[in-house]
């Protein structure tokens, strides 16, 4: 696949993978590779975003994604502010829009938002001057997760085009799955998704992937297997019977992994439920790149911040 690299990102925001072109995705991944190098330095900090302010607006509990953004912001010398609200905006008595407008009145350059409801970043991006970065909105998108997954695969395999990637788990509620399907198919990979049929959303195939009920069919011959986290509170609610049965039919076990290519990468966006969707022998096994995903997350978020700030060329060390 020959992709003409975009010189820069077109929009002021990153609300999802969906609005990105293949060229823009490639630009972010290329920039991320440069950012990775910064983490190897003795002084892990460049002045690229010095004087810029980033608000991390997290309406949903998150440790990993928020830390990852914070580390990325600090390595680029931006000033970070954290706003955590675990309750919905409405029960707090202030609307999302009012909260965002109040924060914007303090003139930040970026608002990184995590929200339990799909579309919240889009609604903010429409009215805010700051760059809005989606750090996960409901069951919709989690673009930086898909970008870090893609970076991880690309670093291991050199390319995304032509690979077969299986994504397995609770498809209905997964924003990680949606962003990954959009990104990987746009970059020329074949994407297969699988999970309990009661958790496969209608019209899934129209997003550009093959849909399987049996996990084995999705994994067979795959270059990458990406497992999704099952939310344990969904068991017994007519979605799937029990965690025990889930493991039996849908978990990535050493036996199932044998169906994939020998060098198949094992991925998981975390946090993992060991012994539920993934067997520890696989999660900790030689094919697992789960911790590398976390490392790459910082680089990808640095790249996104840097590019949205209008950066170009290599970020220089001072």
């Amino acid at each position: 696949m020959n992709v003409a690299a975009a010189a820069r990102l077109r929009g002021k925001d990153l609300v999802g993978i969906d609005p990105l072109s293949a060229g823009e995705i490639q630009l972010i991944l290329d920039t991320s590779e440069q950012m990775r190098e910064i983490a190897e330095r003795p002084i892990k900090k460049v002045p690229a975003l010095r004087g810029k302010t980033v608000v991390n607006l997290f309406f949903e509990a998150s440790t990993r994604t928020r830390f990852s953004f914070e580390v990325a912001e600090k390595r680029l010398s931006a000033d970070s502010l954290n706003f955590a609200a675990t309750t919905s905006s409405v029960s707090k008595g202030e609307t999302l829009i009012d909260t965002a407008l109040n924060l914007e009145a303090m003139q930040p350059d970026f608002i990184v938002i995590r929200h339990a409801y799909a579309g919240a970043p889009h609604q903010l991006a429409r009215i805010l001057r700051s760059s809005v970065i989606n750090a996960g909105d409901g069951a919709h998108e989690h673009p930086t997760q898909a970008l870090l997954d893609a970076l991880t695969i690309r670093l291991k395999r050199g390319t995304l085009a032509g690979l077969t990637v299986a994504i397995v788990g609770d498809l209905q509620h997964s924003r990680v799955m949606r962003s990954n399907v959009l990104l990987l198919s746009r970059m020329g990979a074949t994407v297969r998704v699988a999970g309990p049929p009661s958790l496969i959303p209608i019209g899934m195939e129209k997003m550009g992937c093959e849909v399987h009920g049996r996990v084995e069919d999705a994994i067979a011959g795959a270059d990458v297997v990406m497992m999704l986290r099952i939310q344990l509170e969904r068991q017994g609610r007519m979605n799937f019977p029990t965690v025990r049965e889930y493991y039996d039919f849908f978990a990535l076990t050493p036996e199932r992994l044998k169906l994939a290519r020998k060098d198949c990468l094992v991925m998981h966006p975390g946090p993992m439920n060991r012994g539920v969707e993934i067997d520890s022998r696989v999660a900790d096994g030689p094919q697992s790149v789960i911790l590398e995903q976390v490392t790459n997350g910082v680089a990808v978020r640095m790249a996104v911040l840097y590019l949205l700030a209008g950066g170009h060329g290599e970020p220089t060390a001072d």
Partner: protein, 430 residues
């Protein structure tokens, strides 16, 4: 006796299969005469040159929010919006606070409407007390006070036994029972049509089947009881097929379709990037349903059009898509949206278009009006089919602005509305 003469209009009245250039003489509040040339020196004159004169349009399905939610709409503001949209009469749903489940509220609504003195406002009474789906509301008392139909609209009548009993009881008054067909378990907290668009947007879907199974149930209960079921805001292909089948068997079922379900698809949610003015219940459906519904309108299976005018305050709509309330306003956009779609694009005859907004809804609920025959109430909608205007919510008479049609340029707008022989609204000419 006061007289008004509408001169040189194209009179389109499906109740007498009329489409001709005529003068219309109104005496007091009734149609007095129709003829090619009427001379009456004492009559006031309304120049109808270039306009269509139709029986006053009737909207069987609006929410006027009073009593209880006057910050969204009042009976006066809703009636003003109605006449500015070409409607001479509207039927208002009972989901107010307090609920219109007793004759006191029914009378209150009628008194308020008569103070406003604009559109005729016909109250729809609740099926169950406080819309709770438990005990029957005082149907007879409300009918006596002026209720023209019964509905728990906003909520489906979930209990089939209750639906059966209301269909039986309402026959005493020859009134229809209007059902919002939605299986709540299947809808499962969804916020838009279930399908590929919802999947891509990560929004919870309401499957078409949630409506279809309830339409099938209601057709079965209408057949069992002989009662009259009117299906509100039909939006699905199979729902339409159930109705087509029931009608063919002679069962007393009728249905309405809204302008937004005909003119928009679920793609509008994606295109607008989660604009909550695309959120309503039933949701905007996918193209296959919209095409089937349009076919149902064109072939006559759909009896009439209705807006489901559902005003909400801007603050309520300025929330996350999941949290914003369902509903859009419709009174001031319905005529141009449907004229543009049905007559201009799909070549429906003007007579049938007028019937969908006047003669047919009058027949469905057994209301006066829907006709310009001599002796009929002098409710007249004048249309300017050449007018080309842009939908501008800031100019709405409604207190609310939640329309998915803002900014659309449409051709074919109401020019004036007469109720009981009085010109209650006229478009200002620039």
């Amino acid at each position: 006796m006061s007289r008004l003469l509408i001169r040189h209009a194209r009179v389109v009245d499906p109740s007498q299969r009329l489409d001709a250039g005529l003068d219309v003489l109104i005496a007091d509040d009734k149609i007095a005469r129709l003829a090619e040339r009427i001379e009456d020196r004492d009559a006031g004159v309304l120049d109808g040159t270039g306009l269509v004169a139709a029986p006053g349009f009737i909207d069987l399905h609006v929410h006027l929010r009073e009593p209880g939610f006057e910050y969204k709409e009042t009976i006066a503001s809703g009636a003003a919006a109605a006449v500015a949209g070409g409607f001479a009469a509207v039927c208002c749903m009972p989901n107010t606070r307090p609920v219109n489940d007793n004759p006191a509220v029914t009378e209150f609504i009628r008194a308020r409407a008569s103070e406003a003195g604009l559109a005729r406002v016909y109250p729809v009474g609740a099926v169950s007390k406080n819309l709770e789906g438990g005990e029957l509301a005082e149907l007879g008392e409300m009918a006596r006070a002026g209720a023209v139909a019964f509905s728990d609209d906003g909520k489906p009548v979930h209990n089939a036994y209750l639906m059966r009993r209301v269909l039986e009881y309402a026959q005493l008054f020859r009134l229809s029972v209007v059902d919002h067909c939605e299986d709540r378990d299947l809808a499962a907290g969804g916020v838009m049509h279930e399908g590929a668009v919802a999947t891509r947007l990560g929004l919870r879907g309401i499957p078409a089947a949630a409506e279809e199974v309830m339409v099938a149930r209601d057709c079965g209960l209408a057949e069992l009881t002989g009662g009259r079921v009117h299906i509100a805001h039909l939006s699905t292909r199979r729902g339409l097929e159930h109705l087509r089948g029931a009608k063919a068997r002679g069962i007393a079922v009728t249905c309405e379709a809204t302008p937004h379900h005909l003119a928009l698809t679920d793609q509008a949610v994606a295109d607008s990037e989660y604009d909550t003015d695309t959120k309503m219940n039933p949701p905007l459906r996918s193209a296959e349903h919209v095409e089937a519904l349009l076919q149902g309108v064109l072939d006559g299976t759909v009896d009439c059009l209705a807006t489901d005018h559902a005003p909400h305050h801007a603050d309520e709509k300025a929330l996350e898509y999941d949290l914003a309330p369902f509903g859009v306003v419709g009174l001031e956009t319905a005529v141009p949206v449907t004229y543009d779609l049905l007559v201009r694009r799909h070549k429906l005859s003007l007579g049938r278009f007028v019937a969908l907004w006047s003669t047919n809804p009058a027949r469905v609920f057994g209301l006066p009006g829907g006709s310009l025959k001599v002796g009929a109430p002098a409710d007249v909608t004048l249309l300017d089919l050449e007018a080309r205007l842009t939908v501008n919510p800031d100019r709405f008479r409604s207190l609310s602005r939640n329309t998915p049609f803002a900014g659309q340029r449409l051709k074919g707008w109401p020019a004036a509305t007469l109720v009981g022989g009085k010109v209650v609204w006229r478009r200002e000419r620039k």
